[in-house]
């Protein structure tokens, strides 16, 4: 295939030439954007249900709400196979180091959703038992408020995260 056929607008094609290529059914993009598109459409969440929020996360993955519409119905039990950690529920003080270990075991690139007020700030449990915000231990990309968030809210958070993953490609 001739080189200029797949080159992007940066190579100085005119509008007319691009139009021409579009008619031939060829889409030009950057490699980063294509990779981000693949990543966001096939995320592999790690199972990290810690409390009541996990029930809503399971509901989101089950038939009624069907997370597989965005290619992420399989929750991996091994962090080595996952790139998204949904912290679903309150994190106890003793769980903190475990959570960080699991996060560290996930291969790059990886993202974290903090699901529910407990994971985000400690929520109503302002006491000795819980870590007051999981963002003190792992970097959080998306906070989903609610107690518990409905599956729709989690799905909205996931879609916002998808948008973020796609947007990040511009800076890579």
């Amino acid at each position: 295939m001739p080189v200029q056929r797949i080159s992007g607008a940066q190579l100085g094609q005119t509008e007319a030439e691009l139009e021409d290529e579009a008619h031939r059914g060829i889409l030009t993009t950057t490699l980063g954007k294509a990779v981000a598109w693949a990543r966001k459409n096939s995320m592999w969440p790690a199972t990290f249900g810690l409390a009541c929020c996990a029930i809503e996360m399971m509901a989101a993955g089950a038939a009624d709400y069907d997370l597989s519409r965005w290619g992420m119905e399989i929750f991996r039990a091994s962090p080595r196979q996952a790139d998204l950690m949904i912290v679903a529920g309150r994190v106890s003080q003793k769980m903190g180091p475990v959570l960080r270990t699991i996060f560290d075991q996930m291969p790059e690139p990886k993202w974290v959703i903090s699901m529910g007020v407990c994971a985000s700030t400690g929520g109503m449990f302002n006491n000795y038992g819980l870590i007051q915000g999981v963002d003190t231990i792992v970097p959080v990309d998306m906070y989903v408020p609610g107690c518990p968030p409905r599956p729709e809210m989690l799905m909205y958070g996931i879609l916002r995260l998808h948008a973020k993953v796609q947007r990040e490609a511009r800076f890579k």
């Binding site: 003080q93 003793k94 903190g96 180091p97 960080r100 700030t121 400690g122 302002n126 006491n127 000795y128 038992g129 870590i131 007051q132 915000g133 003190t136 231990i137």
Partner: protein, 167 residues
């Protein structure tokens, strides 16, 4: 068995057994604890062979600040009794003999009471914290502990709770 009858039977040996709201309570001093529990366990008309719960409460300001409660169940006679022990605030931490050699089910319960109230059970085979992380300072269910948010303690880092964080 009818509770009143159990209370009657207990009063023969423990004159201060109280019956209230369908429950029987025996209050003993710490040095009488092991004798009382072993007699409750071994005497044929009592036979409290199972320690179903062990817990504590904290009453700062009282002469006997910590109160331990041992809940015993007799599988044979299907009756229950509560044994209470009061401990003074001094010395801190308070000491009480462990009943784990007598009732193995007390092992984790005593660790829990130690963890939350800082009561030391002498003779416990492995008295460590059970619910709070190793290296935690303080005993969170004592009334003198602060209420509210705690620092995130992680690998030596300290991050204050959200309402005390500066942005």
């Amino acid at each position: 068995m009818i509770v009143a009858e159990l209370a009657e039977r207990l009063r023969a040996r423990h004159p201060d057994a109280v019956e209230a709201r369908g429950e029987v309570t025996v209050v003993v001093s710490p040095d009488r604890l092991l004798d009382t529990l072993s007699s409750l366990r071994d005497e044929h008309d009592l036979r409290f062979t199972f320690l179903s719960d062990l817990t504590a409460s904290d009453w700062p300001g009282l002469d006997l600040r910590f109160w331990l409660a041992y809940h015993l169940l007799s599988m044979e006679h299907l009756h229950r009794v509560r044994v209470k022990v009061g401990l003074p605030p001094r010395p801190d931490p308070p000491h009480v003999p462990s009943v784990t050699p007598m009732f193995p089910s007390a092992s984790w319960l005593e660790r829990e009471v130690f963890d939350f109230f800082g009561i030391v059970f002498d003779g416990h085979p492995d008295l460590r914290r059970i619910e709070m992380p190793e290296g935690w300072e303080g005993h969170p269910l004592r009334k003198t502990e602060g209420l509210g948010g705690v620092n995130t303690r992680y690998k030596g880092a300290f991050i204050p709770p959200p309402d005390q964080r500066s942005t």
